[in-house]
Structures are given as structure tokens and as C-alpha cells.
Symmetry: C2
Subunit: 396 residues, 2 copies
């Protein structure tokens, strides 16, 4: 029971200079892919942002170390599902390093040009032997057609693979993500991979571009306000085409936003993708803040689950965001229906708002703060009994 | 399906100088009490703290105005359920003022010595005539035996009335609260009323005492992280007995903590009252902050609903609280079972932790941050499918 934005594609192309693969190595019980690979033909510029959580997955220590040593040059990224390699102590870090080393030997590149990312339950040792045994097969399968195999290999509670593709002025960008719970902005969020054949001249420029793109995409999606210790977002640029600077950043941001919406749409137990439109803010930061508080409110999210155009909860959530707006100058809308303005509700418009929640799986909730002209959109999903079921049962 | 801390008492005494009443005036559909009164024989010292939400219930404007005019002297408090009188514009404020004026006329006191509090759904006009029609009957019923009638009259989604009583060195204190959803600390929280016959010499001292008591009681309970625009906590001291300053503050704080636990226990859909024990913090503020983030985490709360001793989610929630502790020096316990320490989990103790969650309705989740000696307890409840059901259906 999740929201389909569009049919899952059979095929997603990769940008020039990249190959991908995915296979089953035995971490997931069923015969589903659980080990993925992104491979660059030559070392490419890479940048990453990570969770702000104090508890860190082992792979984050290794990614930081390797990117620092390599000066931001990346040749391969190995990803496993169904094991977070987190809270596994020093051994977990050694395990991730060993996986990178084994892969680097087979590729014939310095170990620091190989990164790793892990996702899944916290606390179990990483089955290194099982992973290493499958590296040869993984490398053999890596191809320009491997995008969907990779997208499937990184899924955990996701109900569909998340891969998007775009072409801007001849430059191709492909994005992957996994995540449908433990999702909250400003923590780099879930696992995300953005590959482009556009040009990012330096490691510093790549990192700065990634940070700004994430602020307008992945940092604006929330499912449950919880953050994972493993959240990692990675951008790789192969410099094969000319698009650069603002043009490339716009392409990368747009793809990031598509992935962010996909994550909210596939939120655990979701039946509605909710776009929170915040308008009339003094600046974009305060618009984003208000949007995130509304998007995190269990009362707003359960109201949407119940198809209740409960503008009071939307306004009350906005009211605790720390932004000093005047409630009697604010406006609230649900779909196209104005349900609150000038300090009073408009019950005559609630039937229209109710129909929007019943009929449309893509729901819009809006607030105008009446303070200025800045705006932001934030994405989330409704909170249903199925979210509780999924998360009460996860480890059993 | 809520947690019973103790049987609902048949009778709760009131401190010297106070009377109370409750009756059905027609706001609730069933013949349940929905209008309550607290009455002091003479004007008493009163202080209030309110929600920090930007959206404010009309009664909060009137309470602020009246307490300022009266210099903190209070004769009566009128409370209605099933209508928040919020987002009702200037008319809502006039309506609350009129209710106070009608009651003051009947008592024969200045209007500013009468306060009002409203709770219930947001956005509908207050049925003033229905309330005023019942004021004579309400006053006639006010007595030293009316505490439970009052406690019942202020209930909304509460499943049982919340009244507690204590005697310290001859000084009696009685507390009332309502609330089981839209509950979150630092917003004065829900409706709460603390009455004591102890001595608080000035309005300023009363206000300061209330603020400190709330910081250690009502501000440490959370059900869903949402806050109501109507949250109000009121302390009235009739100065009939000698207990004062620290002694009185301890009595008031203790009663506030009992009420706070009762609110979490009656959290919407709750099956477990959860006490989050934070230990080893550098100071009490950071201990409280970590406790509140854990208590607000949907993943921690659904894990308890599923009886899953998921220490990884507890540690991950602590990890995003903004406190820079070292995860490999932290400890996590569930009941008496040590499930994580020294950077690694202890799966051998998980069966014991699981039994605690299955067998005990009063659940303890603990974290030691390994930074110092400060501590704090925070109270919450599990997040169940019934929470979603209750809040998806609230207005329909």
C-alpha cells in the first residue's frame, strides 16, 4: 500500500563512464538482489554527505577515510542491503575496509578509490566472506544496463526500486535511492547515489554542489522524523560532457527532488504522497522549517490517512515551528480549497478539500505565513496503521 | 486500551479553601459532564503557563489579560470540553470574556478574577448561551466533594479522569489534568490544574514555582510531539497552611509528575507507559533533551508496541538529539537487561528485555551517555495502530 508516482521502469540508462550491477549474495532470505555495485571506467570526482547521527554505520568511517586519502577520486561503490554494519565496533570498520580492499584488488585500483555503503538492521556482524565470494560475479555483470539490478539490490523495506534519469543539454544524470522509513531531513538521508557525466572540476566544487542540491531535495523529505546512523548521499561526476556549474547543479537538484518525492511516496504504509507548500515566508530557511514541522506532525499525517481536511492541525503544527507569524493573517489550503484565512475557518470549502484527499493520491497541503515572498515545498506521506505494523514487526 | 496506573478513585479531596463542580451542559453528545468549575472561597494567588504555539486558543488571551489586571488573584476557573474556542477570531475572545463576566456577576467578584480554559476540536464557535444557561446550576453544585465531577468534565479523548492528591506536613495539594493526544513538552502542555492550601506569598513567587515544577513534570511528557494551541497549566494557592517555598514546590512538583505519568499512561492507543531514563549526562538539560528525542521517536514507540527490545533505535534516537556523546561509551538497557555497552550489542540479554516488554505495562528504557552524572526521566507511551485509528477518525 504505497503511492505509485509512475510505473517502475524496465530500464534506466547510465551516464557515460559508468556501469552498474546487482546480485543475490545471501543476505536477504529470498532470492532477491542484496549486493550492488557502481563502477566508473576511470576514477571520477566524488563527494558524500552523511547522517548527523552520533551513532555511525561502519561504512561512514571508511568512506570519510577513503575520500580524504583519494582527494575525492572514486572508482567503485559497493552497497549491501539487509545488514547495516552499525554498532558493530572496531570489527565492523575492519570488515568494511576488507570488503573495499578485496574489490580494489580485483579492479586494480588503490583501495581508497573504493567506497562502501550498508543498509538494514543494526547490530549484526557483516558477513564479509559471503560478500567477498560474490565480488567476481558482481564485477563480471557490471554493465551500462545494470541500473535496475543495482536499484533492486539496495532495497530494504522499499516496495519498489528507486531509479531516475534525466538528460540536460546532452549531459546525462542518473539517481538511485533506497529508503521508506527512518527518513528525516538534514541527516544526508537514507542511501542516495547521483551519477552524472557532466563536469565538476574539483572535489571541493563537487562537495559544495552536492550540499546545495541536497538542501533542496533530500533534506526536504520526511517519513517519520527518525534518522538512520547509515544515511549517506553520494555524487559522482565522470566529466565526459560539458554541462557544469549552475546548469549541472540544476540537473542534479531536479533529479534529487524526483528521488525525494519517490521516497515519500514509498513511505512505510503510505497511501498518499503529501506535498507541503509553504508560501509567504520571510526567507527560504523559515519556509523549509515550517514545512518540515508540518510534515513531521503525526496529527497532520493521521488526518490525511483518515481523509480529514483538518486545517486546525496544519495551522497548529505551523504554529510550533518557531516562526513568529500572525495566525490571523495566515492562510491554509487543502488541494485547491481555501479552508482557513483571516483568522477564521471556511467550513463551506471543506467538502471540496475532503474530495481532494479521497480522490487524489498526490495531496497538497498549503500554508501562507503572510510574512514575505519566500517559499519551499516539503514532501512526506500519511501515517497509517500499516506504518505501525511494519515497524512493530521489523526484527521479528 | 490504555495503561492503568491505579484504579480511578471514587473520591479525591480538595485543599482547604477550594470547591469544585462538573455537569453536562450539552457540548458532548452523550450525557457526560462537559463544563467544570474550580471555585476559591476567597481570591487566591494564581499563576499560569501556556502553549508556545503561535496559534492560541481564545481563552489564553483572556487568561493573560485577567491575571495581569488582577495582579495574579483568582476566584474561579471555568473549563469547557468538546470545543477549543480556537481559530475563532475576535468573536472567540469576546465569547470567552462573556462567559467570565457572567460567572463573575453570579459570584460577585471582579471579572478579572475569573479565568476560563477550553479544550476540544479547533474552529467551531463557542456555544456561549448553552454555557451561561448552566452557570447557576454549576455554582450551586460546587463543593468540597466535586473534584471527580470536575475531573470528568474536562475529559476529551481521555479514557479516564485524571485527579491526584497529596498531603505534605499538613498541606494538601490536588491536581487535575486532561490530555492523551497532541501532547508534547515545553508548551505548558494540555490542561492542568494544581490547587494547594500551602502558602505562596506573591504572584511572582507563585509563577516562578509553577515554571520550575512544570520543567520537571509536565514538560517531560510526550505522546506524539504535537502541541495544542490551548495548552494551559494553572496553579492556585489558598495560603491556608504553612508549607511554603522549597517544601511546597516539592509537593507541587511531585503531584505534577504523577499527573504527567498519568497522561502518558492514557496516551491515545497506548498499551505501555514508557519511562525513558537518561543517565550519565553532563547536565540535567541535556539529559532531558536526549530523553525527549527518544520519547518522540516513532520507531522506538512502535518497537515497544511490537514488544521488540530494539536498542538500535533507542541509541539512534539518542544520537540525533544534538548531544555529542561517544556511542562506544554509551549503555542501553531495557528493564533490567543490558542490551548494549562498549560499542557492541549483547544479544544474550535480549530475551530478558523482550520478557520485560511483554510482561510489564510499565516499561523502562535507559541510556547512559557516559559524559557525567546528571540524569532525567521522561515519560511517553507506545505508538499503536489505535493511535492512528483515533486520530484518523477524530472529527468524523
Amino acid at each position: 500500500m504505497t503511492v505509485s508516482l509512475s510505473p517502475v521502469p524496465d530500464h534506466v540508462p547510465l551516464p557515460a563512464g559508468f556501469r552498474a550491477a546487482g546480485l543475490h549474495c545471501g543476505l536477504k532470505k529470498a532470492q532477491q538482489p542484496d549486493l550492488g555495485l557502481l563502477l566508473a571506467d576511470q576514477p571520477v570526482h566524488g563527494a558524500a554527505i552523511y547522517t548527523q547521527n552520533r551513532l555511525l554505520g561502519a561504512h561512514i568511517h571508511v568512506c570519510r577515510e577513503h575520500l580524504a586519502k583519494s582527494g575525492g577520486m572514486v572508482r567503485a561503490v559497493l552497497v549491501n542491503a539487509r545488514n547495516a554494519n552499525c554498532a558493530t565496533g572496531q570489527q565492523g570498520i575492519e570488515d568494511a575496509r576488507n570488503c573495499c580492499r578485496e574489490l580494489a584488488t580485483r579492479i586494480g585500483c588503490p583501495v581508497e578509490q573504493v567506497l562502501m555503503a550498508s543498509t538494514g538492521p543494526i547490530g549484526a556482524p557483516l558477513p564479509v566472506a559471503r560478500i567477498v565470494t560474490h565480488l567476481d560475479a558482481l564485477l563480471a555483470r557490471a554493465s551500462g544496463d545494470g541500473a535496475m539490478d543495482f536499484a533492486r539490490a539496495i532495497m530494504t523495506t522499499d516496495t519498489y526500486p528507486k531509479a531516475v534519469h534525466g538528460v540536460t543539454q546532452g549531459t546525462a544524470t542518473t539517481g538511485f535511492a533506497k529508503g521508506s522509513g527512518m527518513i528525516h531531513p538534514d541527516m544526508a538521508t537514507m542511501l542516495g547515489f547521483l551519477l552524472t557525466d557532466g563536469s565538476s572540476p574539483t572535489a571541493t566544487a563537487t562537495a559544495a554542489m552536492l550540499r546545495r542540491a541536497a538542501d533542496r531535495s533530500f533534506h526536504r523529505v520526511t517519513v517519520d522524523g527518525d534518522t538512520s546512523p547509515n544515511d549517506t548521499l553520494l555524487l559522482l561526476a565522470s566529466n565526459r560532457t560539458r554541462l557544469a556549474s549552475e546548469g549541472l547543479e540544476a540537473a542534479v537538484t531536479s533529479l534529487g527532488q524526483q528521488l525525494a518525492r519517490t521516497i515519500a511516496a514509498d513511505g512505510e504504509g503510505a497511501t498518499r504522497l503529501i506535498t507541503i507548500e509553504v508560501r509567504g515566508a520571510a526567507d527560504e530557511a523559515e519556509a523549509t522549517m515550517v514545512g518540515r514541522v508540518i510534515a513531521t506532525s503525526p496529527l497532520v499525517k493521521t488526518a490525511v490517512a483518515g481523509r480529514d481536511p483538518n486545517w486546525g492541525r496544519i495551522l497548529a503544527a505551523a504554529g510550533r515551528a518557531g516562526v513568529k507569524f500572525a495566525a490571523d493573517r495566515a492562510k491554509v489550503w487543502v488541494g485547491a480549497a481555501n479552508v482557513y484565512s483571516d483568522g477564521v475557518p471556511h467550513p463551506e470549502n471543506e467538502p471540496q478539500a475532503h474530495r481532494h484527499l479521497v480522490d487524489d493520491t498526490l495531496v497538497v497541503l498549503g500554508v501562507d505565513l503572510g510574512r514575505g515572498t519566500a517559499s519551499a515545498d516539503v514532501w512526506t506521506c500519511d501515517l497509517t496503521k500499516d506504518y505501525v505494523q511494519i515497524n512493530a514487526d521489523y526484527r521479528s
